[in-house]
């Protein structure tokens, strides 16, 4: 028999980096950037700091692997900084996270991403990540290289020094790794920046991507999002194994106490209901440390069989319609747009909020192309494998033709639009660890679909006014073009003389003049309506602006 060995978590991920977003040189660069930015934004929000990021992605040479470039990726933030002692854990250890499973809408969840980026850099360029960090309490900033010790899943700090730094607090990470740069399109760096900018109205970012100019996008909101308190888990979202493991966190307490303090939506009444639904009475006050698996199973089954209030939706964070409206303008010159934030709801026993922004831009996209789709999960852009994603499914299931957009069968609609759909939930079910696609459950797709249809209805008011305008203009042109031909041919067939022709022409002008007057009036009405709606939207944006100024 061959020898069975145990490998470390780091070893597993080092061998399976494709599972966490490092399946191609292109994805490696984007994923690294994404992980670094996610960490910065989460850290800033945690410390209630308005984030200011500086990003640089640049080709600096030839990669060690075939057909790759050596890419430098730098992300610098003004966050709270990381203590020198934590550097190894944060950048060099897998599953070391401050956020794992705590039920908050943070971007990061498990503590895999940035360590995977470090591993990739280490494997392709023999060096982990170069970090500079300073907290407010530190006199000098600390600078070090962090590597992953793959055999033991621990971080190794090398060349640690201190230095004077321009910032009072913040973190700067620098990766050198094999990769490739793509600017536009679904997997493009600029697409990523657009998306991040859109759903983070409070973010100021300066970026220099490849040979592009250095660009700064200012924040449009001065409110750091308030991260809602984490809520206790709902028992119906658990499986038996999780239920037993969860109990270990609570030590020597009775089952009833464990249920009431360890979960949400369980009251004294619920405990009585559990008994009615088969929970043995002797278990209710039994200490959980003395319960065996059979006991847990009985308790768990009774809990699952009992109807409970749906989970609370308080833990869900949204961007909000006002902020989204303003943020859209940072992507380019908006012709018109519509935003929709749905009320928090429960899908698959998890609280979820769907937000949708549909916007038409003056200098982006074209009529014959599919709309640009920006997908977000907890405010992180999702850029790969869109065909399997719940968001894409929902968009394709909507009949956009009824809102005035053209749409090939079973596809995304077409036109110079950006469709941004954001799903926020403390527990998003991804299809894979690299967080590229949201698993499509029927309930979730339906919820997204509803949001899209509401946004679509708002959008269609614009489009319909425009179509009416075009239609009327066409009719007016008709009168001028076809009237004279009609008279000419009638005269020719009937053999009438020139004076009759003149009279008929006058008559025609009178008839069609009445029609064209009507058409002109209708046209004016349509234009007024369109203008009024645009004004209403402009007002929405500016009033949100003023509210911001007031809060400064």
């Amino acid at each position: 028999m061959s020898k069975i060995t145990k490998s470390s978590t780091a070893e597993y991920f080092a061998k399976n980096l494709q599972q966490v977003g490092f399946s191609s040189p292109l994805k490696a660069v984007l994923t690294t950037l994404k992980e670094a930015v996610d960490n910065s934004l989460d850290a800033c929000e945690g410390a209630e700091i308005l984030p200011e990021l500086e990003i640089e992605v640049k080709k600096v040479g030839i990669g060690s692997t075939k057909n790759t470039d050596l890419i430098k990726i730098v992300v610098e933030d003004n966050g709270p900084g990381i203590d020198a002692d934590d550097l190894a854990k944060v950048f060099g250890e897998y599953l070391a996270s401050s956020k794992f499973g705590r039920g908050q809408c943070s971007r990061g969840q498990q503590g895999i991403g940035i360590s995977a980026a470090t591993t990739w850099a280490q494997m392709t360029n023999a060096k982990g990540v170069q970090v500079i960090s300073k907290t407010k309490s530190m006199k000098k900033a600390v600078s070090a290289q962090v590597d992953v010790d793959i055999k033991t899943n621990t971080g190794i700090v090398r060349n640690k020094t201190t230095l004077d730094w321009k910032k009072t607090n913040g973190t700067r990470v620098e990766f050198l790794m094999d990769g490739r740069i793509q600017m536009n399109g679904d997997g493009g760096l600029l697409t990523y920046i657009d998306g991040t900018v859109l759903v983070n109205p409070h973010l100021t970012v300066t970026h220099k991507m490849g040979d592009n100019e250095k660009t700064t996008v200012e924040r449009v909101s001065n409110d750091s999002p308030e991260i809602p308190e984490a809520t206790l888990p709902h028992p119906h979202t658990f499986k038996l194994g999780e239920f037993i493991t969860h109990s270990h966190l609570y030590g020597k307490i009775s089952l009833s106490k464990f249920l009431k303090t360890g979960f949400s939506r369980i009251s004294d009444q619920s405990i009585k209901d559990f008994v009615k639904n088969g929970l043995p009475k002797n278990l209710v006050e039994k200490t959980i440390t003395t319960m065996n698996e059979e006991d847990f199973k009985k308790a768990f089954q009774a809990v699952q069989a009992t109807e409970l209030m749906a989970p609370s939706t308080k833990s869900v964070l949204t961007v909000g319609e006002d902020s989204l409206s303003k943020s859209i303008n940072r992507l380019g010159e908006v012709d018109f747009f519509s935003v929709m934030t749905r009320k928090p709801t429960i899908c698959d026993f998890k609280p979820v909020v769907v937000e949708v922004a549909l916007a038409r831009f003056i200098n982006r996209g074209s009529e014959g192309e599919p709309v640009q789709l920006l997908r977000f999960a907890n405010r992180v852009p999702l850029q790969f494998d869109k065909s399997g994603c719940a968001i894409t499914w929902a968009i394709e299931s909507v009949n956009w033709k009824s809102y005035g957009l053209s749409q090939p069968k079973d596809s995304l609609p077409q036109g110079p639009y950006v469709f941004a759909v954001s799903i926020v939930s403390p527990f998003i079910k991804f299809k894979n660890a690299s967080k590229e696609t949201i698993d499509a459950s029927d309930e979730l797709v339906e919820e997204i679909r509803r949001a899209l249809m509401q946004a679509g209805q708002k959008l269609s008011r614009h489009i319909k006014h425009e179509m009416k305008e075009a239609d009327l203009e066409r009719k007016l042109a008709h009168i001028e073009q076809f009237g004279p031909i009609l008279v000419e041919k009638l005269v020719s067939i009937s053999g009438a003389n020139a004076s009759r022709k003149k009279k008929a022409e006058e008559g025609l002008r009178k008839i069609l003049g009445r029609d064209s007057d009507d058409a002109v009036n209708q046209l004016e009405e349509a234009q007024t309506k369109l203008a009024a709606q645009k004004q209403k939207e402009a007002k929405k944006m500016s009033s949100a602006d003023e509210a911001d100024k007031g809060s400064q």
Binding site: K475, H478, F482, I485, L486, I493, I511, L512, A519
Partner: protein, 386 residues
């Protein structure tokens, strides 16, 4: 040289057209909205009486009054009308396709006509049909013909005598044509039919290819009959030709085609009673005595014919089934009690959702090359038709 006429027309088309133009012009002079009226050619304006035998127009008219939306159509109508009148005047004829290109040439040659331009032939065909419905005359009476399609005919007994426009006569004995079929023109012809020997029946086969196959296996050698291929939905030429055979020879006529909703509604019904689109000319372009020989639902079981399920996921198939349901409710032909056996076939098709093609007879006995012929003859002999 006078053209051959389809019928004795009492209407003087140029005079009628001139009156119409005169009326429209005088309306315009008075700043009144001129209008055009035509027979409404749709099922909801179709009547059917089994004694008459074909669909006839009801009272409904479509009225096109001049306004910003209709001015384009009206201008196109008078533009086309002028060309047709010129043709009538000088005795020239054109096909629909030729008229399409003639219009395009005139329009492109003169900047002021540019807005009239037709994007495809369907648009100009629609205008020609409207003029016919408006004047209540046949397209053929406007000297506008369609291309020949279908009607390839084989017989050892049939002799056709054609009187040509210059008075010359041509005698065509179909038995002398070898493998070549006789094909009626899709335009008026003056034909006299004669049977050298008693003709027992006339068989119209939906597929022109299958008619050819039967012929090459010696069908007309063994049977005193007329064998004809319809080539799908029968053209005016085929419909007029069947009518002529019916009128002049008085032989039983049978139709043999696929067992599906399309064949029943679009091909067989059009051959027997005309169509809603051609309401004003069904009288001369339908053969009310034709019977549906098969494929009948009963044949599927009796001969164990290969058949298959209609794919409802296929939009074209689903549309046919929906149309069949519509026909049962709204088509006066299928609603008529006399045609109950035909509408029963539609009901059966809707219920069973299967289809069976005419070529399935070829699979009944793979070792017998003339099995299809034998089945057809057996069915005729036993009266196994609807």
């Amino acid at each position: 040289m006078a053209l051959i006429k389809v019928r004795e027309l009492r209407l003087d088309i140029p005079k009628e057209a001139k009156n119409l133009a005169e009326k429209m012009l005088s309306d315009l002079e008075k700043s009144k909205r001129p209008y055009l009226e035509a027979v409404k050619t749709s099922l909801d304006n179709s009547n059917y009486n089994s004694k008459v035998g074909y669909l006839t127009p009801g009272e409904k008219m479509v009225r096109t009054e001049l306004n910003v939306s209709s001015v384009q159509k009206l201008a196109r109508v008078v533009f086309m009308l002028e060309i047709l009148l010129r043709n009538l005047d000088i005795g020239a004829v054109n096909t629909k396709r030729e008229l399409y290109y003639i219009c395009k040439g005139l329009i492109k040659g003169d900047g002021k006509y540019k807005p009239l331009d037709f994007e495809d032939q369907d648009e100009s065909d629609g205008i020609i049909d409207f003029i016919g419905d408006m004047l209540e005359v046949y397209r053929e009476e406007l000297n506008c013909y369609a291309n020949d399609r279908g009607g390839q005919t084989y017989s050892q007994q049939l002799v056709v005598t054609e009187t040509l426009p210059d008075g010359d006569k041509a005698n065509v004995d179909l038995s002398t044509l070898g493998t070549t079929p006789f094909q009626p023109k899709n335009r008026p012809q003056s034909l006299k039919l004669k049977a050298k020997k008693k003709i027992d029946f006339c068989l119209v086969v939906e597929s022109e290819g299958t008619a050819g196959t039967l012929q090459s296996m010696g069908f007309t050698k063994r049977n005193n009959c007329i064998l004809m291929g319809a080539q799908g939905v029968p053209s005016n030429g085929v419909r007029g030709w069947c009518k002529l055979i019916e009128n002049q020879l008085d032989v039983p006529m049978y139709f043999f085609g696929d067992l599906d909703a399309y064949t029943m509604q679009n091909i067989f019904r059009t051959l027997k009673a005309g169509s809603a689109a051609s309401l004003i000319r069904n009288g001369d372009f339908s053969a009310p005595n034709v019977r549906f020989l098969g494929v009948l639902p009963g044949d599927v079981k009796k001969y164990d014919l290969p058949h298959y399920k209609v794919k409802e996921s296929d939009p074209a198939e689903a549309r046919q089934l929906k149309k069949a349901k519509d026909a049962l409710e709204n088509d006066p032909f299928f609603r008529d009690k006399k045609n109950k056996e035909l509408s029963d076939i539609l009901r059966w098709l809707i219920k069973e959702k299967i289809r069976c093609e005419q070529q399935s007879y070829f699979s009944v006995d793979p070792r017998d090359p003339i099995k299809t012929e034998k089945i057809i003859l057996e069915k005729i002999r036993r009266g196994d038709y609807v």
